[in-house]
Symmetry: C2
Subunit: 340 residues, 2 copies
DNA sequence: GCAGGAGATGTGAACGCTAACAAGAGAGTA
DNA sequence: TACTCTCTTGTTAGCGTTCACATCTCCTGC
């Protein structure tokens, strides 16, 4: 416990002494500065090895004024979508040489997002990605600290920030058109929670196609993304006469609906066709395998980092960008032509 | 672009000047030091507000020698298990006032884990949680830098590090016993990839019960956790005579097996009973709803942070701990008594 | 009325690194 | 030979905090 006994990890000066050079030369070697004699460099590297020296990034960050760390604010990373997005972000960030500091919110609200941004700002992150698909997160993004670049993923594009997102409206159009093309008179929709922008976009694409085709727009059902809420919606739909085609806002709810139909003896796709959204790894093995809309979460992560890095480089004169990732229709066995 | 124009964020000295005190007094206010006159404190807080000052944690970390950041090394956070564990860790860490710096590996190997640990050490994280359920990660944990506390989650307990994990063996026992109790002669097993410790544990618990009960131990099938690999195993099992009960090492593979059986007209649970593992949110809505073993990932996250913090506090004289979270049997509709 | 002590505040020196500048050595040129 | 130029290395001064210590003020008690 005496101070002389508890050995501190070696610092640059220790390496310098050992190699018989100045600490600055050690710094030059570490930073690949060209003007160092090969022999000197070798000597320094040897000393580094012998001492097991590791550079202190905190001290480095203090003087360089950047931490090579990006902040990620997210919500419920247990869900497949957010989890995949965050994974994509992390991979892309590390490929670009950045660390990722995570904050996942339990509930998303303005105060929560603002706090998270504040924390990350204190940590001097070089940039922030906010995965905040709820409308209530938008106000917090409005008064984000101006000195630090921010990119929103799946966020509202109204604000001052750049946005990267999957084209939800187009995805919903694909789903709805597919069902109409199969000869169904109209398409019912089980939407996501009303606060979610993704839920909005899917409703919009759905109703847009129906209206354009002059079809009746059935009453909207909605759930909370969970299989259970899909199950309940399924029970309601099965009890409603005339339902032959349903577009469910995500695969988990679609699973619940499938379960409800199975229990009530409603055959899919013979009696009712179902299209989901997301293409989670399980969908292909549902009973029946689910026709759905695939979102490329990896691409979203990649682009969000790309946009963020560009913004960081641009410094003061950055301009908001908007990047939209196209969804893809995936045909499986849960949809079939309408038979009267 | 002129240096006078690009304004830096305010620092402690700016606040001090504005409030008419020394920087040290500002520091005291920020750190809730008791010996500050109420009026002075108010003046400082006002100045902080007016200037929009935010403390620079990097500078703080340099002198206090801790960053209040924990490192988390993980693998494929797209899978439900790892994602949930990481989420639990993140929540627990933040509740304890720590940030989380994430590194998710694409492939897990000794070099990858070692690199990740090295990076995190350079970042001066105060502690590290390694979620590395593969055996190949173990060697990297052996020569972890001694100056920084590490906890392994679902990792090998052979090494020098503390381990928090779900009792896989017991889970497998519960599943196997349940099937035997239903009158099945023996139980087949679809295992996870051979490099995974969790796969091992489940095999061990399964074969242990069969052996103890004097039942034949059928040939082992195995997959890679994916629904597709479960589907393929299912096809093989359906073609094997005498199979009446199957314990599948995770729910996703169980889903694949259910699909295979459905396609071949094998009825579950009438002809074959199936038990899964994990209890993912979807399982309850499979066709039929899946009997499975629940893992409490939230608890794992919570305990891992608890153990880590304790170890950080203990400093040099820490001792390895081992915390085991019990699994829970969840009865649903995919299992039924054996009928000859 | 003054020693002693507690409370409030300030001063200087770290923390471990990089940036900016300085300086010495050797090569090339007139 | 002297002069410049380039290459290599060293020296000094921060970055924005906290820590250790010094100082000043005011109160208490004899």
């Amino acid at each position: 416990m005496s101070p002389s006994l508890e050995r501190r990890p070696p610092v640059m000066a220790d390496v310098a002494t050992r190699a018989g050079v100045s600490h600055q030369t050690v710094s030059r070697v570490l930073n690949d500065h060209p003007n160092v004699r090969a022999e000197t460099r070798a000597r320094v590297l040897e000393a580094i090895n012998e001492l097991g020296y590791r550079r202190n990034m905190v001290a480095r960050a203090l003087v360089t004024r950047h931490t090579r760390t990006l902040g990620v604010v997210s919500f419920d990373t247990t869900l497949y979508g957010p989890a995949s997005t965050v994974y994509g972000i992390e991979q892309a960030a590390r490929a670009a040489g950045y660390f990722v500091s995570m904050v996942s919110l339990k509930t998303i609200d303005t105060a929560g997002v603002r706090d998270a941004l504040g924390y990350l700002a204190e940590q001097s992150v070089d940039g922030i990605v906010v995965v905040a698909p709820q409308r209530s997160a938008a106000p917090a993004l409005a008064d984000v600290p101006t000195d630090i670049p921010v990119v929103a993923v799946e966020g509202s594009h109204a604000g001052e920030v750049s946005v990267v997102s999957v084209d939800q409206i187009e995805g919903a159009r694909l789903a709805t058109r597919h069902l109409l093309d199969l000869g169904h008179e109209t398409v019912w929709h089980v939407a996501g929670p009303s606060d979610w922008l993704e839920a909005d976009g899917r409703i919009e694409g759905w109703s847009e196609v129906l209206t354009a085709e002059g079809r009746p727009v059935p009453e909207l059902l909605s759930g909370d993304w969970s299989p259970r809420s899909g199950y309940e919606a399924g029970l309601r739909l099965a009890a409603t006469p005339g339902v032959t085609a349903v577009f469910v806002a995500n695969d988990q709810m679609a699973l619940g609906a499938l379960r409800a139909f199975a229990e009530l003896g409603v055959r899919v796709p013979e009696q009712i066709s179902i299209v989901g959204f997301d293409d989670i790894p399980e969908s292909e093995f549902f009973t029946p395998p689910l026709t759905t809309i695939r979102q490329d979460f990896g691409a979203v992560g990649k682009y969000s980092i790309e946009v963020l890095l560009r913004q960081m480089e641009a410094g003061a004169e950055w301009s908001h960008e908007r990047h939209v990732v196209p969804p893809r229709f995936v045909a499986r066995a849960s949809t079939a032509p309408f038979r009267a």
